[in-house]
Amino acid sequence: MRVGLVVAAVVVLAVCASAGAAQAGGGFSADVMRVIRLEDHNARVVLLGTGLLGAAAGAVGAFALLRRRALMGDALSHATLPGVALAFIVSVAWGHGERSQGFLLLGATVTGVLGVATMHLLERFTRLKEDAAMGIVLSVFYGAGVALLGVAQRMPGGNAAGLEGFIYGKTASMVSSDAVLISAAAAVVTVAVLVFYKEMALLSFDPGYAAARGYPVSALDAVMLGLVVAVTVIGLQAVGLILMIALLIIPAAAARFWTNRLGVMVGLSAVMGAMACVTGAVVSALVEKMPSGATIVLVAAGGFFVSLMFGTARGVVPRFLERRFLGQREARRHLLRAMAELTETAGTDGVARRDLTRARAWRQGELRAAEGQLTGEGLMEIAREGRVRLTAEGRLEALRVVREHRLWELFLVRYADIAPSHVDRDADAIEHLISPAMMAELERLLAAEQPAPAIPPSPHALPAPGGTSTGRVP
């Protein structure tokens, strides 16, 4: 996990550094180069600031996601609005006509923390669930914020215009002091995550166990929430309210698809957050009329979609392929066994496809696919029209499969007290998962009645060709 964070930092720097090596061209590419090589100060500030913000949000978001508090950022960022408005009203009432950034941030932090505390109290002292508690804090605090903004806008001597910037963000106008603030916050978050890594991991996966081991769960929860508050408040004015929520959720959710290990996930989430922010900021700088915050979110969402589809740990495509591969292996074994058993009962020089279909209730496509597999391996061949037979090699393989199946059946009959007429299906389900070691164990157990190379007779009736299934459940 430490490695992950280091990687995150390196990537952010690498994006900046590698750009320096590129050469400037003309026209559009000149623009691209100018942005990427960070020639103007503003671009440097914006890229560094958003990148660090993305990394910090990604790392914190990973923990929040695992703690099932993904939407916490949503409630929290809405809860900062009354603080901003109140701070504005107070500063105007005291006669400071202009807004002081620090004071507004302080206000945002205060009501943000209040919101989180309210959420916690509602969950603790009432029957309301997390989602309701979040929704209540979100809507009531935001409503209060809107009401206060309404007052602020009608105050004499104050210019409330631009307070909405806190809601929609203004990445492009980020200045050095903002970047400094974000860097500081990112540093604090990184240190906190490193220091409390073990505790937060425990808290994310099993809060009950953490409490039983004597960890101060409430205090740790407060630390985690504090980090979310810090990142949110800092990020609000950079990318805006809704987009801040996205930065806390999307990279973390995307990282989850690639790994089952927490450390890797936190690092990956930070990297993805940073990359989405940097890419989004660059795109919005190059293309006209692309609001930066929204672009960042769309880039992050693109990354999420790719992760959802192709993530190695839980992505849709890898899972689909895995299932398919497993299905193919099972179908191959089933076909081999059906062939062997039909040959055993009928003794013909080939098995009719019709009988095969009946024996296993294959669908046409399934049967074709499994046949293709076996012929491809040289285990099966077409005897004549509508009939197939095993090659010599195929017979050997089929006998091995049948033997495993029957040994397992025998085991079930002998040791699990299952009626011979019922063992076929049970054996069918489990035989694909038997390891060679288990096979050896089975052989040892049943050695007395079945000496090693022999194929035990089936304990139940077998399907016969010609359609009369003898007592077998189709």
């Binding site: 309701a132 409503g143 609001p291 969402a301």
Partner: protein, 427 residues
Amino acid sequence: MNPFTQWVSTDWWIVATAATCAVACALVGCFLLLRKLSMMGDAVSHAVLPGLVVGFLISGSRDPLPMLVGAMVVGLLTAYLTEVVRSSGKVDEGASMGVVFTTLFALGLVLVVRFSDRIDLDPGCVLYGMLEFVPLDTRTVLGVEVPEALLVLGGVLAVNVVVIAVLFKELKLTSFDPALATALGVPARVMHYLLMTLVALTTVASFQAVGSILVVAMLIVPAATAALLTQRLVPMLFTAVGVAVLSAVVGHWGAIAVPRWFGMDSTMTSGMMAVAAGGLLAVAVVFSPTNGVAVRLGRRWLLRLDEAMEDVLATLYRDEEAPNREVRRDPLAAKPMLRWVARMLLHRSGERAGGGLTETGREQARKLLRSHRLWETFLADNANIRVDHVHGSAERLEHITDAPLRSALAKSAAKTDPQGRLIPPEK
């Protein structure tokens, strides 16, 4: 001063519109709360932005119908995509909702900016809505000038009421136990999307009229308040409706009155209505007759007071029993306040003014001491606890021991307790 006397018809129209919206939301919100989908209202209300923009682009005007349809479609899409991401990616509900709605909102923002020369659409305006302007846009119905927003919201409310009334059994079953519902042949999935359709319809129709803050708040807060006050679904629905109406009235009053206390002008009604709903929730949290914090605390305190009174009686009885022995440790010595209250109450019944026990008090104290010593005997004999350790446990158990339990304990007990003191008779 009664603020309502100053209200003109405009104010009443505003309140009526807001209340209609609030009731429509609260009804749907109860089912969202039961399904732990309270954040759905917030998600949908943000996510519909691209739908509004596309509707606007297609129609090329501010004609509300295409925008409404566009928003409805995207609202449903939000629910659908959330479900897709959740089930295909094994992402938890909140996270998948967050991914979907922030992405759609970002898409909407990009569209707004990219087509800014063709669209006169301020996202802020769409999201806030102006409840105050509702009475300006009227239509004459049966000779009365009714705000158009009220008519639209009245229609939405009617749809919600009819759907919920007709499919009440199905909605209830799928909300509480989707697996059972499916087993019984009620399509839980269809019900889920039906509810989401109602949410999208209500949200979209409302926030053009009254702003999204009111919608999001009313989808959650009245339902949560009602859930704290009752455990049954039908009373919950009615309570939620009541809370919704009350928040609308109190909120509008607050928007006018509260800023005046600080010498400022009035403020946004919709925001204050959300705050009012929050206030009502806070009242329910504290004073709910079944679960309220204050009620639970009060009950605990009464119990402690009851025990304290019994302790005082027992101390007095022990003094009577052995007047010459050294002064007993008063169990309430460390709690003078509790002791004082207990004594004040006891003066009425159990304790004589001079300091002794009345007949009733002695009766009660004897039973208490009987329980105490029976427990000490039992613990020493049967639970293998050392004699000098049984007092503490007996001190706690004596308060919850009744006559049948005492007689059961007495069966195996001797006449005296482990310290050799007489166990007083039951009568």
